[in-house]
Symmetry: C2
Subunit: 312 residues, 2 copies
DNA sequence: GCGATTTATGAAACCGTTTACATCGGCAGC
DNA sequence: GCTGCCGATGTAAACGGTTTCATAAATCGC
């Protein structure tokens, strides 16, 4: 692979000049620049990014640490991040499926020195120390964090208010016996959605502990199972709020198959607004979560703190 | 940020020794290693990856170049890639939304020097030269390529056979007037699915040019529109094969809303096997495309050609 | 007890860039 | 015809690691 020296030799200039040409430095005369470009093209030369990173201590890369990538949501988050990154000539180093804090630590270490900033969704409390450690070196933006981390920007879906509005809607329609299908244990989004659910009850002067909470884990199948269980209840709740759309779809499937009409017999509301929601029969009422915008926003914050060089 | 020199100083050894400790080189005595580890922990030191890459010309990173990340499919591809990569201690540098060959060239250049191999889905023919150029430096694995590229491994969904089987199924059920909803213009997968569709007709002794091809672009909305158009046809096709599930769902929505029964009045088959397919009402018949496995497979191939150092 | 071998460590070259500083013509001002 | 300045280019020192080779100490065989 051609190096800057070979290009310099071929063009009859010094390596500094070649470097200047590739960095659009104005202090190079027109025809020298042309000679260099010609030589570079002939040798199929392109600067080695690792060497550039080392010399400038700037990598033009951001790290992205996510939990397991299930469904459309994360795909959209990544799309938002990537799009924003490319607009600013940044690249993204992606690592997902972090189930515990050791994974997070290992992944963030492996990224060290090759990223200028990090976007991460911390899976659990134990990762906070890792976040702080990383934060000491580079800017970090947290996605949907469960706790505030010192000097860390964060951006999140407004789970709590979204859920609250959804439940208020059901309450306004006269429903009083509303069930909630929860998300995976320990999942922040799911917990916040439950909190919003309860808050709506409290603000309506109802007892927040009365509603049924049916366990789920965000997959369609658990929504389906919840539906089966629901059908056997007596009295049966008249409405269900599922912590995400996948479960809402599984739930509706179970209900409709059992001859139960939606929303006449049981009303169903989901969360995430996956793109097919409007095309289902019956259509799924859902709370909009702008995953793409979330990713874009995180990236914008990172770009800003990057430019201002806001290291501690 | 602590460097190897500072650690060496703190531990009272040379930088070579520190390097050896971090590379698990056996030629270091137990207590020297301990002193080094202690000093490193105290200074919160971790080797700078860019410097390592430069010195070893090995980055332990693979690049992934994808087109626009719509829906669940790419999310699954990435999951498969990432999972396999992490098992082997590799990282992935992701870049998506490449609409033309210039984007692809720019993206692959930006990755040069920071990756040991590349997985890419080439959006168009014009990118082939870029692929070959990259191929000269590092191993490349193509996803669903439309053409063979010299010395390039490739792995793909078997679009053509999958589609053929799906259509054969419809033919066996007695359908003769079957419509096809196509994908975005120029999309390889969509084109191959259409080819499989036609092949099924030919092999059944029918005229492959008779079926209606309704334009679509993979989004739900175009499936919905196709459904509206279909309802107005006379005679109306008795079955529809949609080039992907999103369009099949949009289509079914339009049909059901118009009071058309699925599959009694119009049978619908999709492609991709998105996770919700089985939970729809009526359930969506679909061809399984193992996106996660596809990604994993690509990564495995890359790892193999990487290890054998099969550069040209 | 001495040469040969092994083991632990250090010195220094190298990876491919960027960039501060030095150099060297050429040209304007007087 | 100097002096001073400026624009174009080269030289060499970083950047933070790895690795080859040399060396010193320890171990071994006999």
């Amino acid at each position: 692979m051609a190096t800057i020296r070979e290009v310099a030799l071929a063009a009859g200039v010094s390596i500094a000049t070649v470097s200047r040409v590739f960095n659009n430095n104005a202090l190079v005369s027109g025809d020298t620049a042309q000679r260099v470009m010609d030589a570079a093209a002939r040798l199929d030369y392109w600067p080695n990014s690792a060497a550039q990173s080392l010399a400038t201590s700037c990598t033009r890369t951001f790290g992205v640490l996510l939990p397991d990538l299930f469904g459309e949501f994360y795909s959209d988050v990544i799309r938002g991040i990537d799009h924003q990154a490319r607009l600013n000539n940044y690249q993204i180093l992606l690592s997902s499926s972090h189930s515990n804090s050791e994974d997070v630590l290992a992944a963030s270490r492996a990224m060290l020195g090759r990223i200028d900033g990090l976007i991460m969704m911390a899976p659990d409390e134990a990762s906070i120390e890792t976040v702080e450690r990383v934060r000491r070196r580079i800017p970090v933006v947290l996605l949907n964090p469960r706790v505030e981390v010192d000097r860390c920007h964060s951006v999140g879906i407004d789970n709590s208010h979204g859920a609250q509005r959804a439940v208020e809607h059901l309450l306004e329609m006269g429903h009083r016996d509303i069930a909630f299908i929860s998300g995976p244990e320990g999942n922040v989004d799911a917990e916040e959605r439950l909190r919003g659910f309860r808050r709506a009850f409290v603000e309506a002067g109802l007892d927040p502990d009365v509603p049924h909470v049916i366990p789920g884990d965000f997959r369609e199948i658990t929504g389906f199972e919840a539906g089966t269980g629901l059908l056997a209840m007596n009295p049966r709740p008249t409405a269900v709020f599922a912590a995400n759309d996948s479960m809402a779809i599984g739930l509706m499937s179970a209900l409709v198959r059992a001859g139960c009409r939606v929303p006449e017999d049981v009303a169903v509301v989901g969360f995430d607004n996956v793109s097919i929601a409007g095309y289902l029969n019956p259509a799924l009422t859902t709370v909009h979560a702008d995953a793409c915008g979330l990713g874009a926003q995180a990236m914008k914050i990172l770009l800003t703190s990057q430019q201002s060089g806001s290291r501690v």
